[in-house]
Symmetry: C2
Subunit: 142 residues, 2 copies
Amino acid sequence: MNAPIVNPALTKNQTLVFDALNRAEGPMSAYTILDKLRDHGFRAPLQVYRALDKLTEFGMVHRLESLNAFVACAHRESECCGGSHNHGQGTVAFAICESCNQVIEFHDHEVDHHLGDWAKSKGFKPSKTTIEIRGLCEKCAA
Amino acid sequence: MNAPIVNPALTKNQTLVFDALNRAEGPMSAYTILDKLRDHGFRAPLQVYRALDKLTEFGMVHRLESLNAFVACAHRESECCGGSHNHGQGTVAFAICESCNQVIEFHDHEVDHHLGDWAKSKGFKPSKTTIEIRGLCEKCAA
DNA sequence: TGCCACACGTTATAGCATAACGCAATTGAT
DNA sequence: ATCAATTGCGTTATGCTATAACGTGTGGCA
């Protein structure tokens, strides 16, 4: 089995961005992150985007396409799928509350399976799959 | 059965935008549409965005979140789901070829069902679900 | 030592989307 | 018929999101 990317050494900027996302406990746009990090010397969007690119590559951060925003991966060490920040073959899905902005990250192997079957039947080779459910979380729907 | 929005009368701008998307046979950004319609008197992005908002509301156009672009709905009259541009309860999914930009629109009721179950189990009330598979279509993967 | 890969910093620019204003046409109830 | 509400339209200005292109510095390594 190919070695997934596990606990890569983060650079200073990557660490700052990752920590900012973890503290936020919710999605942030790149420019919001930039503003939070001005006190730490950040001056330009590229500093944020470059860090986000790497963190996304490492699987430590996810991009929410429907929000143009980013969240820290909700996984903790070795929680599932065989390792730290390794999502294996599984697609990550998100439920995004449009009222309180809470984001629930989850996996659904059945959904993966069905979409995989569809792709196979069409000869389509997936590289990245986005699943995002916008709506109201339990609290906000009440 | 509840009446879905069927063949609403389109305004001039809406018709121009919809026709442009249909001619394109592929996704276009709002600004690309604007450029195509300058000869028809379009001058500003809002003319395009306002038409797109309505067309999306009517179900005649879909937004591809991972592309910031728009496509005409691939459905033809009464093709499925009980009527013109009526997607019923079903979520629309897209496979997007990153090589040739072809977009395949499809439905997967099993996937809908599983995501619906997940939402129900969490008390989450979905309003809109995005499913987009980026990858290579059969031709481009060969 | 020279080369390479990579992170970083900066300036500028490109691409996507909406706010806020006013006007015109339509509808529909009184 | 007329007034009010709604809707579409056009324009200007602005804001948000993302990347191009340049150069610098550093660490590994043949």
